[in-house]
Symmetry: C2
Subunit: 418 residues, 2 copies
């Protein structure tokens, strides 16, 4: 029994009961008809308020159960997802030129990315609906987290990836026992094939841009951030929340979580959201700057998790930035590699390229006067650096090769070689 | 101010104050003279008891501060280490043929391995002693965790690796800003060079087999395990604790933690410890079976974290198994690859080869009658599978290649292909 009151289409505004539709608004189709889950917030507030959270000993995303669309909590799987650490990154704040910087390390989730929050939710919904299989199209973190949570539930998962997907990423899916189709085609073809197959075979569809429940998992990251700042940092609240943007689902979820925490009285003032895009793939930034509709672009960046030329959740992503009074900003691949090093050396967190892009995003936003030097920033690191060791190698530099003699160490040290 | 009363040599039994020695027993030398940290357990018990832990909201290894050799808690770094999840792995228990199986996922630590517990401790001791640099010899998890915690502290780290160390692992060290010497020599030469350099330059020495404080960090894994079983699983206690064994430090730490929890009254009955070695590198198993001294061997296994032919902490490792009435057991590389799959599919935890070896270890121990079908087992998974994606690829199998058409999906499904 949840406090969900229904679903509403963010395009046409039409309302549905949860039994009427499973995914997007049938009137608008899946490119536009993305649905939002709505709650009875007065009822939620009775179970989710500062007094309750102060006492709660549930340290996972299920800590926020009254604000999640879960009808049957016995379907929640055992993997501990969420309650990832928030660090007060003093040296990194100084480096980037802001007053205070909180870093939330989402790479600490079960399959090492933020996407676990969505997959954990997706698997619950699949089980509630009696699905005997679940599917998604992705080569990245969404796929590996789905494979992990499906394995936890003993639920067969079918994952569609482009033929050219990196062998290491595909291996992780197969290790978890997912059935993996390597499709000889473009990513767009892979996505369409997955949509068709889901409909044909009745597989539960975990694609975040068309399934309204997935973003409910994602929103827990900002709900939890605010909760942790209250519990652990005397309620110091951010002026900005910073996250990288690919298809728009994540930033949309982040914004929904903030709005709900504001509604529930935890968050007195809504922060602005900074959406970080790669310079080689910035359809959101372009549309936002020109106040124009989406123009799909090429995707030329090493940050594969945000290399999305045709964002499938454009409306929700754009709404997050516009409604918050925030901004989009872009970062080059060079700046992303520098971010990997800077975050690791100044805050001791090792992130993947899309995960760390916000570091350069903050630096650029300060330079451009978007973020002021006296502001407090919360930065979401969405994936672990071990997910993409090739980029780490590019960022790392080289070791010093020496003979196995103390004299050689002395020479190297004297030479100042690193 | 800690409750440490001194250090004692496990070889000659000589006692030292903490100010007299930094590392091994000077009389016995570093091959034999490993020291144990001793505490005033009566004093510890006043601060660390069931009532205190039930109320504690510190969810990291520092929860057990009264039982750790920390003189100055301000030296503790910000990275959240420990309080890794313990899962009741019902399907895996059935698969392996034991009554109940708890899986503790140590891959959830800051740099994705158990070794973070030791490095977190090592960096505190280095800072307390006023060291301006820290060093270790390793290509693996010890090195990456040291690099991470040194970065957290802003403490320069110098890491010695063999020239042939995998590029990916070296990259992680460099990303964290460590100075990395790639030594043209064998691992034994690397180790000796690191020992020499530490002495010559006054760098704090993090090598676990000669530094008595590191194992104090490691012991927190079994202290925490028992604590979590009390807090989360109604105090169900294991008959066996299972961990893979390389140089012997980890299993030694696991045993010390259990003994201390028993001493403090948390653990009514000491479990047996199962030490798992790779069939291609089993010096502990051989010595234990033959009741003979250590004979260094070759190291022929893909489980690199336990590919230790010359264990540097043989005495403590052997003592753990003998004193607990436990056993050593070996597993083949094929069994390790199967363990990667089995653990991922039955418990949804993706581990590295040495990390998962205990899965096959339990299976073999049940087959050999070492572990009984009605016993409860706790299994420590010491590292994340993302640490060694090459082994995951070996374990994974291949995807199904198809054209981007629904018909192709149907054919593949009908063919029963995976």
């Amino acid at each position: 029994m949840s406090y969900v009151t229904g679903l509403s289409c963010i395009h046409c505004g039409k309302h549905y009961t949860v039994d009427e539709v499973d995914y997007y608004c049938p009137d608008c189709g899946y490119e536009d008809g993305i649905l939002d889950v709505e709650y009875d917030y007065d009822a939620v507030a009775k179970e989710l308020n500062p007094a309750v959270l102060r006492q709660s000993r549930a340290f996972s995303m299920w800590r926020y159960l009254p604000l999640l669309p879960v009808e049957d909590p016995t379907k929640i799987q055992h993997l501990q997802v969420g309650w990832t650490p928030v660090y007060d990154a003093v040296r990194l704040a100084a480096e980037l030129g802001v007053a205070r910087l909180f870093v939330k390390d989402e790479g600490r989730n079960p399959t090492a990315s933020f996407k676990d929050r969505a997959s954990a939710m997706g698997v619950v919904k699949a089980l509630e609906k009696g699905a005997d299989s679940i599917t998604c199209a992705s080569t990245g973190n969404a796929a590996s987290s789905l494979a992990g949570f499906a394995a936890a539930a003993g639920l067969p998962a079918t994952i569609f990836v482009p033929e050219r997907a990196p062998q290491g990423k595909v291996a992780q899916l197969l290790v978890f026992g997912a059935r993996v189709f390597a499709v000889k085609g473009t990513y767009d073809q892979v996505w369409e094939l997955c949509m068709e197959a889901a409909a044909e075979f009745g597989w539960y569809n975990r694609n975040c841009a068309i399934n309204p429940y997935l973003i409910e998992g994602k929103k827990t990251v900002s709900i939890e951030l605010i909760d942790q700042l209250i519990q652990q940092y005397n309620g110091e609240m951010p002026d900005w929340v910073v996250v990288s943007v690919g298809d728009g689902c994540t930033v949309g979820g982040v914004w929904k979580g903030l709005v709900e925490m504001n509604k529930l009285g935890f968050l007195p003032r809504l922060p602005k959201v900074l959406g970080v895009q790669a310079a080689g793939c910035q359809p959101f930034l372009t549309a936002w700057k020109n106040n124009a509709p989406l123009q799909p672009t090429d995707a030329d960046t090493l940050a594969d998790s945000i290399a999305v030329g045709h964002p499938r959740n454009f409306r929700k992503g754009m709404k997050a930035i516009v409604d918050s009074g925030g901004a989009f900003i872009s970062v080059t691949d060079e700046e992303i590699l520098d971010s990997i090093r800077t975050l690791a050396r100044k805050a001791a967190v090792f992130g993947e390229p899309a995960g760390v892009a916000g570091v350069a995003g903050v630096r650029n936003a300060v330079k451009q006067g978007v973020i002021a030097a006296n502001e407090t920033v919360a930065l979401l690191i969405t994936g672990n650096g071990l997910k993409d060791i090739q980029s780490a190698i590019k960022a790392a530099g080289a070791p010093t090769y020496i003979e196995p003699e103390l004299a050689a160490v002395k020479v190297a040290l004297a030479g100042g070689s690193k």
